[in-house]
């Protein structure tokens, strides 16, 4: 049952990505292009996602305390220290995001139709993660 819920959450996540337009790289780069023909669509995607996540986590915590479902705890926002890893990593991620218009979710979603851009992006992302773990010991 728990695994079915997690599978269905993944499905809802994928549906959200696809209908929001985030799976189309040009919408993402259009949002990042503040000096050109700025496309605000991502403000609605991020605003809707952030708002509904923050509200539902807050409301569930009010109702059930720290308990999640199936005996799991509700995860807390544990802030790591802001250090060179976080700053460098986030900066690198943003450069890759701006070049490709892909962040991990939309890239994986585009595997559904074997989009060539996703077929090269996702394996290289996995390779980058292996390198990060080997070199920087960050999992």
């Amino acid at each position: 049952m728990r695994l079915l819920v997690l599978f269905l959450s993944g499905a809802l996540f994928g549906i959200g990505l696809a209908i929001s337009g985030m799976t189309n790289p040009v919408i993402v780069t259009g949002f990042l292009d503040v000096a050109g023909a700025w496309n605000p669509a991502l403000v609605f995607v991020m605003g809707g996602a952030l708002g509904s996540y923050a509200f539902s986590m807050w409301a569930w915590r009010k109702l059930a305390g720290g308990r999640g479902w199936f005996g799991r705890p509700l995860p807390k926002g544990e802030s790591d220290r802001v250090n060179w890893r976080l700053v460098t990593g986030a900066a690198m991620f943003g450069i890759g995001w701006g070049l490709s218009g892909f962040c991990p979710g939309p890239a994986i979603a585009n595997l559904a139709i074997l989009r060539p851009e996703a077929m090269v992006f996702v394996p290289m992302m996995a390779l980058g993660m292996l390198v990060a773990r080997a070199v920087f010991r960050s999992s």
Partner: protein
């Protein structure tokens, strides 16, 4: 409101609620880069729910793609997609999250590091697009 903005908002609500359900059912922050990396980097036994979540994600997106035309305009040649994937892989693990893990979940829970990370990756994303579109004039 323009129809594409309404769809963007509805899609965003789906992403937020899906992240909530995955948080409650897994007990973890379900950021996509973390979930994906732990499919092949975590201890066996911790990988099952993550794999199912990602299969669901691919299936859900595939369902929408099958139901109607979905726009896709490439912005970079394949060699650059490969390079981008590589630095997104390193960057998300070094930085501890991506658009969903930091931008939606971490910020939604009020984590300071996620706010810093989101400001930084949005900033370098904007700077990169500025260089590509306005200084170089596009990517062949």
């Amino acid at each position: 409101m323009k129809p594409e903005f309404l769809l963007a908002l509805v899609g965003g609500l789906c992403i937020g609620l899906a992240s909530f359900a995955a948080s409650a059912a897994s007990g973890k922050i379900p950021g996509i880069s973390g979930v994906f990396s732990k499919v092949f980097l975590a201890k066996p036994g911790d990988t099952q729910w993550r794999l199912l979540f990602l299969l669901g994600l691919v299936g859900g997106a595939g369902l929408v793609f099958a139901l109607g035309p979905s726009g896709f305009t490439p912005v970079a040649p394949l060699w650059l997609m490969a390079f981008s994937g590589f630095i997104v892989g390193i960057g998300t693990r070094l930085g501890g999250g991506c658009t969903s893990g930091h931008g939606v979940c971490g910020m939604g829970l009020g984590s300071k590091d996620s706010m810093v990370a989101t400001v930084i990756f949005m900033g370098t994303g904007v700077a990169t697009v500025f260089v590509v579109r306005h200084l170089i004039g596009g990517l062949g």
